[in-house]
Amino acid sequence: MRTARTLASVALALAASGCLTFIEVPVETPIRPKIDASPFSRVYVAGFLPSGSEDVDTNLETVRLLRSQLKNKSGLRIIEADVLPLADSARPAPGDGATAAPAGAAQADAGKLATIAEAELPPYEKIFENKDYWKKVGEEFGSPLIVTGSVVFVPHQRSGYVQKEQEVYDSFGRRSVVPVRTYMDRKGYILRPKFVFIDGRTGETLYTETFREEILYNAEQSTPALSSYFELMDRLLPSFLSTLSSQTIRGSRFLLK
């Protein structure tokens, strides 16, 4: 009995392992969008609360960038209206911290606004909870999906050891590259955008997401703030876009026989 069972299991094991081969196949895994944007045919990237560096107009630049990205990579029509001067509209009234009346798109040319200090941002951000405000903005533009939020863009400095490659030559003059650790003063920027998606029909917040990206350069290198801003935004744009449209992750897997 025991022998029969052993033989049977060995036979099965041999059968299983003997013909075990693999085939690598490409797979495309779909990831659903974070919010259901199907009730909307249009999107209004309204404006952002700018915070931190004054070297970049993060309100205007973020609106322009997101509009162009959504135009190319989402199925929604873009409302090309003026950018809301959100910092003005959201400025807390003295004492009660309430937000001001809707500014409307008409006030968009009110000139360049000073940025808000990072520590002072929370009372301004209460505007995102003001359903009446966003409902009025929505009514003005035919109840679209509204994209707004805040953008913190601050200079950043950090020194420390970094690994870099160095050319070395041996006694025969042969060149090679070796990794070396070296102390370096580095400076750059931190970008912390908060994206708020609002239903223009009701003024309700549908979804909020905050990102954080940073970049550091050699302190001797002179990189324009605007370049850093775009480099950092570039990193998080796929995640932003995946809020509204489904994504496909391409890869490969092993099918087994």
């Binding site: 009995m1 049977a8 299983a16 075990l20 895994t29 779909p30 659903r32 997401e209 995946s242 087994l256």
Partner: protein, 120 residues
Amino acid sequence: MRALKKLIALAVVGVAVSATLAQAADRKAAAEQVSFGIDAAKAGLWREATYRWERAVELDPSYAAAFNNLAIAYEQAGQFEKAKQAYQKAAELDPKNTYIKQNIDLFKEVNDRANRQNAR
């Protein structure tokens, strides 16, 4: 008495042999389904492949490769919970298989990303 014991022993061996033969037949049928499923998947017919591998695991619930392939098909369809269960079963059945392990690692990356997306 001794004859009876022999008869019982023979009967037990007979049952064991017939069970083994039945198991082998199931594995053969399951292997055919797996093979057909692979051809379908290679042609991009993932629904057909899923059906074949579902049949294969029904026929032989100890077939690690069938569970592995089924997990991939579920993954491809965005059915992450089902994919996870099928991968777990495949790993249970064949814990040393490096291909299954590698598939699971890749799946975890995608699944984590999807979960992060849903949690936000």
